[in-house]
């Protein structure tokens, strides 16, 4: 026993000195640090330098030392039988403080950021049903959240350890357990029924006179297609997609161009195939030249490209790739030929379709958005309208809704003159996923919409050569999406 | 070696056997997944004209018959081992192994038949997704059969070394159970593919 005591004392002497040193020195270091560097106007990690990192490390070390010190404390407690710090109580009090601060934080957050939430002021008809559904759920869950969290920390405080007390030997209480099985069930049944109604209404109630608009997603942007004079959208197929026909609509002129283009490509590939043996020599010559001249060390990236091509060529991968490409293009050609036989498919309804780079909707007019995707899964997300639907290649989807608030009105309500509705992509789709959006404008009257529509070029304009619809009402927001997408 | 004074509680089931059952459960889930993918996918693809129903190669029927026969022989192998009829046990094991190999040959011929009908794994024509499914399902089952044949050969070797008898039945009963499992699995898969095609 004596030996132990001695050791503790010895150790504690060193450690106490260390604690003292650290506690005294750390603020000094911090002060010194703040003198050395100009305090940044706004805190930013990039302003993090070695001094601040050093400070953080010091703080961590401090905690370590404090922990050691308390350990020594607890040892002395054991030896002397006196309690210096009751960590049990400290934790209980910290728990209560955290609870109170946490609840204040929640309240603050509800007030501070609450106004930015997309709740209330819905811009679509089903949106208000959605919002009321949300409020009900919020009411229940927030109540439960507050009650249970408060109870949790209150119990933590109230029933903290006391040597003189024994816990209640309480195994179960069927009545209680039945109650808290039944009550959530009832509440959930209510929510389920409401949810079921809302969901069915949103997904299945499609007014007969809804206007169809095709919304087309690709890496990384959106296009919309409005019906022209004939009020009907033409057919589409992914095999028809080309530089001049970004949506692949069934329009004979464009298809003919595509066929010529594809045949040309096939011919080119065939030439490459015939001269594949020579190309191996070419790559080999290039490769050897780079190695012999030492260029491979000066331009390692170029050398890597050459080496890859050379390797592909000698392993036969190059030829296999050519063959594959030819086969794919031929399949496309034969499929196109197959479709062209079908006169019902090529009904000419696509010629006057208008492909646009923004969406213009009329207030209080029902719409059905028909979603298509070109390459990978995207998701059309219009939070202001409470609309979201995935766009899946090979699986057309749709969403019906009625906008009820014009862009102007929304700007007024939000007090933001530059506010615009947007349709975002909300399914991970590649590197530029974060910048894939299209402007949505809601106008007051049909006339405004028609004026806008008239400015949009039809797919095949009698006077104009077939060209991709160029946005006439270009604004900076919409054009930002287009440069990343070269449609050829 | 003298026994210890106390004994650890003896497990109710030999752990290896229980593990086998659990493994069979897991691999059934794998087949359940592929089969339900088939069921879910079919109407979807049919709607787009990307599904051809075709008759299964006749060899798959032969495989079914072979697998049924091999189940019977496997049962006799098990029974003979249980009755300590060691030479018969070896014979039955060998017969079952041969039948298993025949099954593999028959499967191979069946796949060849499919290739001849241009029902390849990689769909040369878009309508052949159904063929892709048949390939995946039969191939996955084939891997299980290979495992079964491995077990049979292992048991046979142990039988030659006189390690399979009335008092040492663990390996034999594992092989027996597993072989029935792959057999039943094939029969189920065959019937499923036959009627769902």
């Amino acid at each position: 026993m004596k030996f132990n005591t001695l050791r503790v004392l010895n150790n504690s002497l060193i450690k106490k000195t260390l604690v003292l040193l650290f506690t005294v020195l750390t603020p000094l270091f911090a002060l010194a640090a703040s003198d050395v560097i100009e305090p940044p106007k706004e805190f930013s990690i990039s302003n993090f330098d070695w001094v601040s990192i050093f400070t953080v490390v010091l703080i961590l070390l401090m905690i370590l030392v404090i922990a050691r010190a308390f350990d020594i404390g607890s040892l002395t407690e054991k030896l002397t039988g006196k309690t210096i710090v009751s960590w049990n109580n400290v934790n209980a009090y910290v728990g209560i403080i955290v609870l109170i601060l946490g609840m204040i934080g929640v309240w603050y957050e509800l007030n501070y950021h609450g106004k930015y939430l997309k709740l209330g002021n819905s811009a679509s008809e089903h949106g208000s049903t959605y919002d009321s559904m949300f409020y009900w759920t919020f009411g229940f869950t927030f109540f439960v959240f507050v009650v249970t969290e408060v109870l949790l920390f209150y119990f933590m405080f109230k029933y903290r350890y006391n040597e003189n007390r024994k816990a209640l030997y309480y195994f179960h209480n069927n009545k209680l357990e039945v109650i808290w099985t039944i009550v959530p069930t009832i509440v959930l049944t209510f929510l389920v029924l409401r949810g079921f109604n809302t969901w069915s209404k949103i997904t299945t109630d499609i007014p007969k006179d809804s206007q169809e608009i095709e919304v087309f997603a690709y890496q990384f942007g959106w296009k919309a297609r409005y019906a022209g004079e004939d009020k009907e959208l033409g057919n589409t197929n992914f095999n028809f997609i080309s530089g001049t026909n970004p949506l692949g609509v069934a329009e004979d002129g464009a298809i003919k161009e595509l066929i010529v283009e594809l045949e040309g490509e096939v011919a080119k590939l065939k030439v490459k195939q015939a001269t594949a043996a020579d190309s191996i020599k070419v790559w080999k010559a290039k490769y050897d030249r780079m190695v012999s001249t030492g260029l491979n060390r000066t331009y390692p990236e170029d050398f890597k490209a050459v080496k890859d091509q050379y390797n592909d060529a000698i392993s036969g991968a190059y030829e296999r790739q050519l063959e594959k490409d030819i086969k794919r293009k031929k399949t496309a050609l034969s499929r196109i030929a197959e479709y062209r036989k079908d006169k019902d498919f090529f009904n000419g309804k696509a010629s006057d379709d208008k492909i646009t780079t923004e969406l213009v909707l009329v207030k209080n007019k029902p719409y059905v958005f028909k979603f298509r995707a070109r390459d990978v899964i995207h998701s059309a997300y219009m939070p202001d309208f409470r609309v979201q639907m995935n766009c899946v290649p090979g699986m057309p989807t749709q969403f019906a809704f009625t906008p009820t608030m014009t862009t102007e009105q929304a700007r007024e309500i939000k007090g933001n003159k530059e506010f615009d509705y947007y349709l975002y992509c909300n399914k991970i789709c590649g590197g530029a996923h974060y910048n894939m959006k299209i402007k949505v404008t809601v106008v007051e009257s049909e006339a405004e919409y028609l004026t806008w529509l008239a400015t949009q070029a039809p797919f095949v304009a009698p006077a104009l050569p077939a060209a991709p619809a160029t946005p006439s009402t270009t604004d900076s927001a919409t054009t930002t999406t287009t440069p990343t997408v070269a449609l050829k | 070696m003298k026994a210890v004074k106390y004994k650890d509680p003896k497990p109710a089931v030999v752990p290896a056997k229980l593990n086998l059952w659990l493994f069979m459960l897991a691999s059934s889930m794998l087949f359940a997944a592929t089969v339900s993918a088939f069921i879910v996918h079919r109407p979807d693809a049919e709607g787009r004209g990307a599904w051809t129903a075709f008759d299964l190669p006749i060899f798959f029927l032969y495989s079914t018959i072979i697998v049924l026969l091999s189940s019977i022989t496997a049962f006799y192998a098990y029974k003979s081992a249980k009755n300590d009829e060691l030479s018969q046990n070896k014979t039955w094991l060998l017969v079952t192994t041969v039948l298993g190999t025949l099954f593999c040959v028959s499967q191979y011929l069946g796949w060849q038949q499919m290739v001849r009908l241009e029902l390849t794994f990689v769909n040369a024509r878009p309508e052949d997704i159904s063929a892709s499914y048949v390939w995946v399902i039969t191939m996955l089952h084939f891997i299980h059969i290979l495992g079964g044949i491995g077990l049979l050969i292992g048991t046979w070797i142990q039988a030659i070394r006189l390690n399979v008898h009335k008092k040492s039945m663990t390996l034999m009963s594992i092989t027996h159970t597993y072989w029935h499992f792959v057999g039943l699995l094939w029969i189920f898969l065959y019937l499923f593919l036959y009627f769902a095609q």
Partner: protein
């Protein structure tokens, strides 16, 4: 010869040639394997956390340049600005690591391995060999995944759910090339590991319980591990199926998932008739049970820790088991709630909605039972207890938002928004990781024979708890404002500007949380070597693992395996002076027998009696110098 004797023989052989490799590397001892799982899990967890900090930096200060990033990541952060493709890669690998490697293998692998034999009274797992393989498959899988981060085209970057066609087409995204191939390899290895482990856990629980350990006397941890293993056994093969189809689509050119695709720079692809949604069905058939595979072990650990430290029986033992059972069963039929807006049949959507909301009932029962266990307890705030209370708090706050997301109508707006991020990071991320911490603090003495520093544990807990809320709570608000997840930066949309301060708060909190984990790491590794020596039963717990000696021996108990006389939660029985009553103490025994020295001495006395001991125990004695 009985199988038990065979078993003993086997160990004896093993012990004879126990070298460094067979003891620490290819060990078949469940305790060593559990430590291997834990340390690999912690290392993977650190990697996952650092990744999250990297992309959090990008989100908080999208326009700043961090020189350090370029030093760390090279071409992925030219001029100190993260590359968008690599950002996606980080998000993907962070998710994969956290979900599979830390919270599935690291949590359930560690504690199932450690506790199933110890709490049930078994010498080892049903099949130690399979158990070892399980770890090494997991290790190989981790290595492959980490290698995939370094490949030239970047790691898999289609989100941890790797939906095709994005993940199936090499040309769709750089990460869908070699990175994705390695991802699939890693996951295939992981599935093998998880199946080997799962088979073993179930088999041990069903088959290897000691005398008196009936199913209704099993601790709730074991029940949780048991159901977890069943879920894994039934759902991981389905993921294997999904991955196989994906591999075929990627490498062989089949079209299970591909249809009607025109790819920039390639042209129209040949594939027709595939269904991308099929993958989602198969994936989420695993994916949803996976959530409970993560959460249930944490809940089990919490039940044990709360009961022990509240010195009070867990309230509603049977209800707890029934709710675990209910959650397990329901988890298989609710996967569709991840797919409400994929254009699925609206009626199917309603069915999934109803089933999903039913799952809230057993979860609510669990939460209320925890609260009642605390009520009128005598709470000792050991770090493990604090982390368990933290778990309950996260479980409630995260679970409640599940009611929004399970509702098909509300999901229209909230799907894939930050609300989802907040929800699952609270309910399965933070809650499960807190369960893991609780387990580590609680069973550290059992694993290493030493104690972790409590005071550091307190700092670790409060810092982590507060910062975790600061990180994830504000995300609810961002989600409700329609901020989509997996966005590389928000500055391109004016409307999202108001969230920049929140983003900064989140990032700073995450960094503080990261530093708090350094305290844990220090505490953990320091205590392994230098921690205070543990007593035999440091928490005065009831369960069987505390009847083993502090020195961890092969075969767990030096003598006979103790018999179990009662349930695991007999705390504060009014008829007893002590506030605990271990499972292995017979009823008639006087309280003095409880002294740990007594139990420790008993075997050595026995050894003198048993003249002819088995080779096994002779070996043990040699190794540990007991004789």
């Amino acid at each position: 010869m009985s199988t038990a004797a065979l078993h003993v023989d086997h160990h004896a052989d093993h012990h004879h040639k126990e070298s460094f490799i067979s003891k620490y590397v290819f060990s078949m001892d469940h305790k060593m394997i559990s430590k291997q799982f834990l340390i690999t899990g912690i290392v993977m967890g650190m990697v996952g956390m650092i990744m999250s900090l990297l992309f959090r930096l990008q989100l908080a200060w999208p326009d700043e340049q961090f020189g350090i990033l370029e030093t760390l990541l090279g071409k992925w952060a030219v001029d100190g600005k993260l590359d968008p493709n690599f950002y996606m890669g980080l998000v993907t690998i962070h998710g994969t690591i956290m979900v599979f490697y830390v919270l599935t293998a690291g949590l359930s692998g560690t504690f199932s391995n450690l506790l199933i034999p110890l709490q049930l009274g078994a010498r080892d797992m049903a099949s130690p060999m399979m158990n070892m393989l399980s770890y090494w498959f997991f290790f190989a899988s981790s290595v492959v995944l980490l290698i995939s981060v370094g490949v030239e085209t970047g790691p898999a970057s289609g989100g941890w759910t790797v939906y095709p066609p994005l993940s199936a087409l090499e040309k769709a995204m750089p990460g869908s090339g070699l990175g994705m191939t390695l991802w699939l390899t890693a996951i295939a290895l992981f599935i093998v590991s998880s199946l080997l482990g799962g088979i073993n856990y179930i088999s041990t629980v069903l088959n290897m319980r000691t005398k008196g350990m009936s199913m209704n006397r099993m601790p709730l941890t074991i029940w949780a591990f048991f159901f977890t293993a069943i879920l894994g056994l039934l759902s991981f093969p389905v993921l294997l199926g999904a991955a196989l189809f994906l591999i075929f689509d990627r490498s062989f050119g089949t079209s299970f998932y591909l249809s009607d695709i025109y790819l920039e720079g390639v042209g129209a692809l040949e594939n027709i008739g595939g269904s991308p949604v099929l993958y989602q069905h198969l994936f989420w058939f695993l994916g949803h049970p996976e959530v409970y595979i993560i959460l249930m072990p944490a809940l089990g650990i919490t039940s044990e820790v709360i009961s022990t430290n509240a010195r009070k029986p867990i309230f509603g033992y049977t209800a707890m088991i029934i709710s675990l059972m209910g959650i397990s069963f329901l988890s298989f039929i609710v996967w569709g709630h991840h797919m409400f807006i994929t254009g699925m049949n609206p009626f199917l959507g309603s069915v999934f909605m109803i089933l999903t909301l039913i799952i809230a009932v057993p979860s609510a029962v669990k939460a209320f039972n925890y609260l009642t266990t605390l009520w009128k307890g005598n709470l000792r705030f050991n770090p493990a207890m604090l982390f368990s209370i933290g778990l309950v708090s996260f479980f409630i706050s995260g679970g409640l938002t599940g009611i929004y997301l399970g509702n098909a109508a509300l999901d229209i707006q909230l799907h894939d928004s930050y609300f989802v991020v907040a929800h699952f990071h609270l309910v399965m991320g933070s809650a499960a990781i807190f369960g893991m911490f609780a387990g580590i603090y609680h069973w550290f003495p059992k694993m290493y024979g030493r104690m972790m520093n409590k005071t550091l544990g307190y700092f670790h807990f409060w810092l982590t708890f507060i910062t975790a809320y600061l990180v994830f709570f504000p995300m609810h608000f961002m989600g409700l404002a329609g901020v989509p997840r997996r966005y590389y930066q928000f500055t391109l949309v004016k409307e999202f500007d108001v969230w920049m301060d929140v983003n900064k708060l989140i990032t700073v909190s995450a960094i503080v949380a990261g530093f708090a984990q350094l305290l844990f790491l220090w505490n953990f590794f320091y205590s392994i070597f230098k921690g205070k020596k543990s007593e035999q039963n440091p928490w005065q717990a009831n369960t069987l693992e505390w009847s083993t000696p502090v020195e961890r021996i092969h075969g767990n108990w030096p003598g006979e395996i103790p018999t179990v006389y009662r349930g695991p939660y007999e705390y504060s029985r009014p008829d007893r002076e002590e506030d605990f009553f271990p499972q292995y103490i017979p009823d008639e025994s006087a309280p003095e027998v409880l002294q740990p020295e007594e139990t420790q001495k008993a075997p050595s006395e026995k050894e003198e009696e048993t003249v002819e001991t088995s080779v096994f125990f002779a070996a043990i004695k040699r190794v540990f110098g007991l004789s």
